[in-house]
Amino acid sequence: RSGSKHATTPADNYYLARRRTLQVVVSSLLTEAGFECAEKAAVETLTEMLQSYISEIGRSAKSYCEHTARTQPTLSDIVVTLVEMGFNVETLPAYAKRSQRMVITAPPVTNQPVTPKALTAGQNKPHPSHIPGHFPEFPDPHTYIKTPTYREPVSDYQVLREKAASQRRDVERALTRFMAKTGETQSLFKDDVSTFPLIAARPFTVPYLTALLPSELEMQQMEETDSSEQDDQTDTENLPLHMSTDDSGPEKENASVLQQNTSLSGSRNGEENVIDNPYLRPVKKPKIRRKK
């Protein structure tokens, strides 16, 4: 219905024009009856009734017509409809003759609402032969045709090399700055502390230990193989002994054995000791049984 919106579509205008025509008709009928003026609410009521009446006649006549397996309503359908609605059909000719003197007002409205063609894109698919012509058309092709859009990735070696290098540099810079911002920093300049922060070096008590011990990766691999051979104790003991024989100094042996023992015995608990982040949980490794 026509709401309080100011912008009306052509269909709304079409509807409103006809509604106004009905109002004019109602006003002319009231004038013919003898009224000089009328309340707006009364005119609105009668207009609404007139519109409903016409619509109801149409609907009911259509129903009666279809009830007898026809599609085109005839005079009989209308007569039956009017009788059903309580209308005295016999008085109709008399009324028609009486109101001959009424001025025929209300010029008909001529504009028809046309669906705007501005938004149609592309050619609609024509109907296949088995679809009748009065069915609605197919929608615009862009609604159901998928055309993937992708750009060919750049495969120029030089460009790729440059991209990889710049990305690595950016990552390194970002990470180091992050560590400098969140950790302790040392500064090269006496007065200016914040311009070039350097990540503070942590002195180790035993500086050469990290060089002698196996790297994290090797430790992980060792732990994995140990977890798979959990039943076999000799192998687990053999491993640290084997590793320790590689070391030269006795201290290093002890340290390395200690390190590995603690790591092996506490391999289940070691991660719990290491993790201090409350949002992390220790990894649960699946037990892989390898038959020797």
């Binding site: 006809r18 025509t21 009905l22 008709v25 109602v26 002319s28 009928l29 009231l30 013919e32 009856a33 003898g34 009224f35 000089e36 003026c37 009328a38 309340e39 609410a41 009364a42 005119v43 009521t45 009668l46 009734m49 007139l50 519109q51 009446y53 016409i54 619509s55 109801e56 006649i57 149409g58 609907r59 006549a61 259509k62 599609t71 085109q72 309503p73 005839t74 005079l75 009989s76 209308i78 007569v79 009017l82 309580g86 209308f87 059909v89 016999e90 008085t91 109709l92 000719p93 009324y95 028609a96 109101s99 001959q100 009424m102 025929i104 007002t105 209300a106 010029p107 008909p108 409205v109």
Partner: protein, 138 residues
């Protein structure tokens, strides 16, 4: 042959079957075959107040596809009569209210009749249509 004999008893006039008991004139035939057929022919040159396009628009919205434009004129005429009947009833109410006390005898009631909701509501109530409009808007 009873069925064949029955039609011969009744009088046929104008395509209306009148039972023998009605020949006295006591009972009027209730339904007659479309008397408006003749009237429909007259409608060709008579244009009702409601334009054909407007009536046709509302009929199309209801699903009624009119093959004959005279059918549309008939429907618009029927709708017109419906409204004018209500308007006349409202006018009667208005006149009754005005001259109920018999105040104006010398001069007739002034010609200005205004259709108000107070007159329209009882007129519609006789047709079984109940309207309740708010008196004011807040």
């Amino acid at each position: 042959s009873a069925a064949a004999a029955a039609p011969s008893e009744g009088a046929m006039s104008n395509g209306v079957y009148v039972p023998p008991s009605a020949a006295n004139g006591d009972v009027k035939p209730v339904v007659s075959t479309t008397p408006l057929v003749d009237f429909l022919m007259q409608l060709e040159d008579y244009t009702p107040t409601i334009p054909d396009a407007v009536t046709g628009y509302y009929l199309n919205r209801a699903g009624f596809e009119a093959s004959d434009p005279r059918i549309i004129r008939l429907i618009s005429l029927a709708a017109q009569k419906f409204i004018s009947d209500i308007a006349n009833d409202a006018l009667q109410h208005c006149k009754m209210k005005g001259t109920a006390s018999g105040s104006s005898r010398n001069k007739s009631k002034d010609k200005k009749y205004t259709l108000t909701m107070e007159d329209l509501t009882p007129a519609l109530a006789e047709y079984g249509i109940n309207v309740k409009k708010p008196h004011y808007f807040t």
